[in-house]
């Protein structure tokens, strides 16, 4: 019987498969399909301090093997979350990570500060990389200094480990990852979505009301995998990889390239059981290849 457990140092997971933020709602939406206790972890949909209306529709466009979204981080805010959602999440035996958003550094800090006082959260994932809030797709994760200063500030106000989530829309992903590490981040997750757009050629209007959105899904996997490989070989804090993971083979590619754990996003929307399917297939792969502990395969890529 293979041990699928993963030790991130700051956090232990029963297996490497985590539900990615924004594709798993507040965790409970998928309970009707998935035994949440079996998951390695759940990253909650991005939370600002106050409730957010989100973007007008259309918010989604399907592309070839991809999905562009411009949800705009519609959300209920930290107060309602901790009063209405968190109590139910506590009953689930899996690691709950809150994806933290902010209009500015201070808001990130306030969210972390507020939620640090609550029970039931194991870590924060700093979403400094959402491309579809500001019209031009700008976000702190595009700049090393902005990344460093936000991470450092938030780390101060947090009782809990900080995972910094990076944007793929950069020239030098290693540089950004290093600044997050310097800032004191306990771990790094990547990638968020790729800034993208689509045009309706009949109306000659953008297909998204927000014009720009974030591309996710199988289309981006080869680029995300490359970035995860680059970062995992550069930093010395744990890296959580994601981007188009739909199968155990996808997950294994990221882990062999150096990711200690993976997040599954878009796949949940198409198959709510995707995470469980991947966990099962990972176990099969390990048994077939006589791997006692799945951690053995992390970063074993032969060049």
């Amino acid at each position: 019987m293979t041990d699928l457990g993963i030790d991130l140092g700051f956090l232990k997971l029963k297996n490497p498969v985590i539900a990615a933020s924004g594709t798993f709602g507040y965790g409970l939406e998928l309970a009707q399909f998935v035994d949440l206790n079996q998951l390695g972890g759940i990253v909650i949909k991005g939370l600002y301090f106050h409730p957010r209306p989100g973007n007008p529709p259309p918010r989604l466009v399907e592309t070839s093997c991809g999905l562009i979204n411009a949800i705009g981080l519609q959300g209920i805010g930290v107060k309602k979350f901790s009063e209405e959602i968190l109590p139910q999440l506590k009953k689930i035996n899996t690691v709950i990570i809150v994806n933290v958003c902010g209009e500015n550094e201070q808001e990130y800090a306030s969210v972390v500060d507020f939620l640090s006082k609550k029970e039931g959260i194991k870590a924060f994932e700093l979403n400094i990389s959402c491309p579809n809030v500001e019209k031009k797709g700008l976000c702190p994760a595009l700049d090393p200094d902005a990344t460093f200063s936000i991470v450092r500030l938030v780390k101060k106000s947090s009782r809990l480990p900080i995972i910094t989530k990076l944007s793929p829309n950069v020239t030098n992903i290693e540089e950004i990852a290093l600044s997050a590490q310097e800032g004191g981040s306990d771990g790094i997750s990547l990638t968020n979505t790729f800034l993208a757009m689509a045009v309706d050629v009949e109306t000659r209007k953008p297909k998204l009301a927000n014009v720009f959105g974030g591309l996710s899904g199988p289309a981006i996997k080869p680029i995300a995998l490359r970035m995860v490989y680059q970062v995992a070989n550069r930093v010395n804090i744990p890296v959580i990889g994601m981007g188009g993971i739909f199968s155990s083979e996808d997950a294994l590619e990221f882990m062999i390239a150096g990711a200690k754990a993976v997040q599954v996003g878009t796949a949940n929307l198409i198959d709510p059981e995707a995470t469980l399917k991947i966990i099962k297939e990972l176990r099969d792969y390990c048994e077939k290849n006589e791997i006692k502990m799945i951690e053995e395969i992390i970063g074993t890529l032969e060049i």
């Binding site: 924004g22 009707q32 399907e62 929307l269 709510p272």
Partner: protein, 262 residues
């Protein structure tokens, strides 16, 4: 909601641009209500990526029907499937039309444009069994859009058809036909599904003549079960406007609730 990864297509019927499947899914059939929908994964590959939503067109003990129009890659691939093929479906999703016993003995109008007729057939049957007098308005561009008219007649519903090209029934928009009829017969309630423009016009009639009405809205759906916030529409509830997930809170809303966007 239930995932049925292996639901057999028991029967297929097809027309030029439309297709009807009867799908074996006892558990979904058992829970289905008019106005609810299912999410179909068109194929196991990543293209097309997302599931596609389809209203439940009718329900029997062990089967549900869907009736759909070929408008793009997913519906085209779906229409290529034959009887006995297996479908991966989720459902029943959403809340559906409100069926209150108060409609017993009352006149109701069901107004469908093109593929918009899909959910209304199921609804018509349920309303009839509640004892309501069901009048169905069925509009299309041309007679080829009215594939279900015989089926509706056979069930004995009072049917009014319109085509824009006049190839069958009233010549013009279904909303114009409605304007006509409504002059001498005011329904207790209207149930509507069809193109945005058509629903908007009827929403106007509904509030203008204050006849209660319910509309089944569409939007591109990422998941169909509330996880992605992709399917929102502008809705007013308890005097507050917000972007509501129509896959969960809808797809059916009332005249007062819907804020129509331009």
């Amino acid at each position: 909601m239930i995932k049925e990864p292996q639901s057999r297509i028991a029967r297929k019927e097809s027309w030029n641009d439309y297709c009807l499947f009867s799908i074996e899914s006892p558990r979904i059939a058992q829970h289905a209500r008019p106005g609810q929908f299912i999410m179909i994964r068109v194929n196991p590959h990543p293209y097309p990526l997302l599931r596609r939503p389809f209203s439940i067109h009718s329900r029997a003990k062990n089967t549900i029907e869907i009736f759909f129009q070929r408008i793009g890659v997913g519906t085209t691939l779906l229409a290529q499937k034959e009887a006995d093929a297996l479908l991966d479906i989720l459902g029943p999703s959403g809340n559906g039309f409100s069926l209150n016993t108060g409609l017993k003995g009352k006149t109701v109008f069901l107004i469908g444009g093109g593929r918009g007729i899909a959910p209304l057939f199921f609804l018509a049957q349920e309303l009839a069994s509640l004892g309501a007098f069901v009048n169905i308005f069925y509009g299309g561009k041309s007679i080829s859009d009215l594939c279900l008219k015989e089926k509706l007649e056979k069930k004995g519903f009072n049917l009014f058809c319109s085509t824009e090209d006049g190839s069958f029934g009233f010549k013009g928009l279904v909303t114009e036909l409605l304007d006509e009829k409504i002059k001498n017969l005011i329904p207790e309630k209207m149930f509507v599904c069809g193109p945005e423009e058509m629903m908007k016009k009827i929403a106007y009639i509904s509030s203008d003549k204050n006849i209660p009405a319910e509309f089944s809205l569409e939007s591109t759906m990422g998941c169909g079960f509330g996880a992605c916030w992709g399917c929102v529409r502008r809705i007013k509830r308890d005097n507050a406007e917000s972007w509501l997930k129509i896959c969960e809170e809808g797809p059916v809303f009332s005249t007062e609730e819907i804020i129509w966007q331009l």
